[in-house]
Amino acid sequence: MDYSAVLEADSIDLSFADRKILQNIYLKMPTNQVTALLGRNGSGKSCLLQIIFGTLSPAYKSVRWLGEYVESPYRRQGLLRYLPQHPLTPSSMRVEEAFRRYNINIDTIEYEKMPLLRKQRMGQLSGGERRYLEALMVLFSPAAFVLLDEPFSHLSPLYVEQLKIHIQAQKCRKGIVITDHLYKEVLAVADQTYLLQNGTTYLLTNPYRELKDRGYSVEK
């Protein structure tokens, strides 16, 4: 592994009014690995991803790529792409146009329904199909890192499994940061796991055990 190809985020301090959301954050995200970010609802996972992407400005932050500070990571050509929780693409846009604008050759995507869907508009797709295609759009993007915020939401079990296969295949080309409440699915593809709790991050060495000990999960 090239140890210099690391995206780091630290010294992040985010508050809304008097409420502290994030403090003393440290995330080290290497390329060719899947970094999982878990946390309860409202713990600040999406905010943290937006801060790393560069579209949310906290009081303090340091996002570094190859050891160099990056002010607006999303403006750095080929560095980052982000899948938000909400629909990403304009509803009037056709599937093939959306992939083309993200510089992805749609013919390289292995998805049995693609021939049927490629001419359709994003707004005509079911919620699950749209979510799956948008996750693929971001995942297959020509970027060093992709940030996936709840990519498994609205997906049927079959699509979840297919997306996990794509994530595993794509990690040899980029770094992947993923957050989702389907933590077992996330842990199945993760190389390292962080828990976001009480506004700060903990790198877990034994994720299943520590998630239970820290009160995130209830299962054995």
Binding site: F53, T55, R75, R76, Y82, L88, P90, R101, Y102
Partner: protein, 104 residues
């Protein structure tokens, strides 16, 4: 870049055009010398309509931006590009209409 700005501009271009054309119609379909004296108010009308669009998008449709930010475009760049495009389109169209009116 132009293609991406055009895609973004299409979200609200109809509104900004409707406001400016409405202003021109309310002013009495000015042509010739009178039209040129109305250029500055039209420019300010455009600027205000863009301010309204920006406010509503910031308040209700912030999620629209992510698609463009993934392509490396910041919000100010999208709005400045759209404003330039809108000015070219509007003043190009209104000059053509004025020329046709004067011709006939």
């Amino acid at each position: 870049m132009l293609s991406t700005v055009w895609l973004f501009y299409r979200n609200f271009g109809f509104f900004t055009h409707a406001v400016a054309w409405g202003g021109w119609l309310l002013a009495g379909v000015l042509v010739g010398e009178a039209f040129w004296s109305f250029i500055a108010p039209l420019f300010w009308l455009k600027l205000v309509s863009f301010g309204v669009v920006w406010y509503f998008m910031q308040t209700f449709s912030q999620q629209v931006y992510i698609f463009y930010q993934n392509l490396g475009y910041s919000i100010p760049l999208l709005f400045v590009g759209s404003f330039g495009l809108d000015m070219i389109l509007f003043f190009g169209l209104i000059s053509s209409v004025e020329w046709i009116i004067l011709l006939f």
